[in-house]
């Protein structure tokens, strides 16, 4: 049996050609308890990065650091560098602009108590889009992208919260797309959706990759395998391994824990 030499992988460093997101020595603690212990990695433009790892390993907290919604947790303390497009997120004055750049999809769908149309038109309106025709076009585009348009086009005026769980989740994806983000963060988006819809959305994500950078936090390791170019294995607030998805899901993974986790032996 021949042993293939491992493919050279670019080291995670700031020297790689202008990453979309660059994180260096990020530490996060809630009160006295540190939950992210100095992690560093980068995400390239138009890449899908999968983040896998068991519960409580800091995946959601990491996303909240990137769009700075962590600010609203009083006990949270962040240190280190998070750069989006070369700008330090933590120094940013106009945090609203940052958040508009980042679409966020939560694990459980949060249908705002507005009509389906208003759910999607909400963010564009708050950032000043007023013209009905622009809004109409955008709403349709986003709902189509989220594979929801055909199911709701006749009842855009009914409450978003009346939709089924899976539909609501696609509605939140449409809403996340509505401010035309450059980065899309999906936090275990598929836990409330049936497998067929999940596949349709995964299809959508592959297309969206042309326009945006996607961070895919997922508990389904196979989902990361299907979609992500590179996969990051986060465990207890530390990066166990970050490599191309082929390597992570093969027996060439450097860390034994990676292999165990993706094969469902623990976690």
């Amino acid at each position: 049996m021949t042993i293939l030499p491992p493919e050279p992988v670019r080291p995670p460093s700031s020297e790689s050609a202008s990453p979309k997101i660059l994180i260096e020595d990020l530490r996060l603690s809630y009160g006295p308890k540190e939950v992210i212990h100095g992690i560093s990695f980068y995400i390239e433009p138009n890449e899908i990065l999968g983040i896998i790892g068991p519960a409580q390993s800091g995946k959601t907290s990491l996303l909240r650091c990137i769009n700075r919604t962590i600010d609203f947790t009083a006990s949270a303390k962040v240190s280190g560098i998070i750069k989006v497009d070369g700008m330090d997120v933590r120094q940013m004055r106009n945090v609203y602009e940052l958040r508009r750049k980042i679409g966020m999809v939560a694990p459980l769908p949060v249908g705002l108590p507005l009509s389906i149309y208003e759910n999607v038109a909400f963010a564009p309106r708050t950032s000043g889009m007023r013209k009905k025709s622009d809004l109409d076009g955008l709403v349709e585009k986003c709902l189509r992208q989220a594979a929801l348009w055909d199911e709701v086009k006749d009842r855009l005026d009914s409450l978003g919260t009346k939709l089924s769980g899976g539909q609501q989740q696609r509605l939140t994806i449409a809403r996340a797309l509505s401010h035309q983000p450059e980065i899309l963060c999906l936090d275990e988006f598929s836990i409330a959706i049936d497998p067929v819809t999940t596949m349709r959305i995964e299809e959508v994500l592959r297309e969206l990759k042309q326009d945006m950078t996607i961070i895919l936090v997922t508990n389904l390791v196979q989902q990361a395998r299907r979609l992500a170019a590179r996969t990051l294995f986060l465990w207890n607030g530390e990066i166990i391994e970050l490599d191309t998805t082929e390597v992570m899901f093969s027996d060439k993974a450097k860390d034994k824990r990676t292999n165990d986790y993706v094969n469902g032996i623990f976690g």
Partner: protein, 315 residues
């Protein structure tokens, strides 16, 4: 093999099971009694409302045969004690109640809802505790004390600030009523805002909302049922309030042309005159008729609120 070993303890346990406890006849009877009692508690609310309505109506109804209802509602001459021709026109009283209530709400609603928003969205924990205690204290002040403040303090202030001759007027009473109904609005309104799930806030923030946009476009619409209830409870308080308005409105039968005119309200009229009337006299019965009128008004307000809330829910 492994299965067999595992099953053994289970079988043993099932044979040794303790006898199932049984409920005695007394217990079953007690259950029945408690059920009936709870039923009665529920129905009692209805019984009380109907009983009150019945007794007020019984006292007031006989006058309906003698009274011209058109005159009753639409004339403003209230001379119940005139020896020759007593006249019972409550037009001015209705307008008095209405004007004081509306002005009070114009003052109280922005303050009440604003305070509720501040309490639930902006203020720190310590500040919140202090404010809540203070606001509750505001609610605990007896209405006669409010009336006293209206008579002695606000009266002079209004005379000086607005340079008017009489300080006991619509404005005076409206300010008092506003202060009295703000605490209810704040506590109910804050509860309504607190009931909005945090996930909405997070979603709104993640979409790039500013705090103001979040409150205006998301939280207030999401809490509108509760906020409407808060406002209507305030209205109920203002319509029904008697003592403070009796002391602060000036108590003169008058259709106000400005907020500096004295008025008289329906409630204050009943309070001031019922003790002076002979039981069973026309005057006495007319006062009860006013009671029925008040009753109907509050009933309508509640009904409207109910429809409004249901309408919002349906959509």
């Amino acid at each position: 093999m492994a299965n067999a070993v595992r099953e053994t303890p289970d079988t043993v346990a099932s044979t040794r099971r303790t006898p199932r406890p049984r409920r005695g006849n007394l217990g079953i009877l007690g259950e029945r009694v408690i059920e009936v009692l709870i039923h009665l508690c529920g129905i009692s609310a209805m019984i009380f409302v109907f009983a009150i309505f019945f007794f007020v109506f019984r006292e007031g109804a006989p006058i309906l045969r003698k009274l011209d209802l058109g005159r009753f509602f639409f004339t403003q001459t209230w001379y119940p004690t005139s020896l020759n021709t007593p006249r019972y026109g409550v037009g001015a009283l209705i307008i008095g109640t209405f004007s004081v209530t509306v002005l009070a709400m114009l003052i109280a609603v922005p303050f009440g809802i604003g305070a509720a928003v501040f309490l639930s969205e902006f203020c720190g924990k310590k500040m919140k505790e202090t404010l809540k205690i203070t606001i509750e204290l505001l609610a605990a002040i007896p209405s006669v004390v409010w009336g006293f403040i209206g008579l002695t303090v606000l009266n002079g202030v209004i005379q000086k600030v607005f340079n008017v001759q009489v300080g006991l007027n619509v404005l005076n009473a409206a300010i008092l009523l506003a202060l009295m109904s703000v605490p209810i609005m704040v506590s109910i309104g804050e509860d309504a805002l607190k009931a909005v799930p945090d996930s909405y806030r997070e979603a709104g923030i993640a979409l790039g909302c500013t705090k103001w946009q979040l409150i205006w476009r998301l939280l207030l619409p999401a809490a509108k049922n509760g906020l409407l209830a808060a406002v209507l409870l305030g209205v109920g308080r203002a319509v029904g309030e008697t003592m403070a308005v009796l002391m602060a409105t000036g108590h003169s039968v008058n259709i106000p042309h400005s907020i500096f005119d004295s008025v008289r309200t329906l409630t204050a009229t009943i309070a001031a005159e019922l003790g002076e009337t002979a039981e069973g006299s026309d005057h006495y019965r007319v006062l009860f008729l006013i009671g029925i009128l008040l009753f109907t008004m509050t009933f309508l307000v509640n009904l409207l609120a109910d429809f409004a809330v249901k309408g919002i829910r349906k959509k």
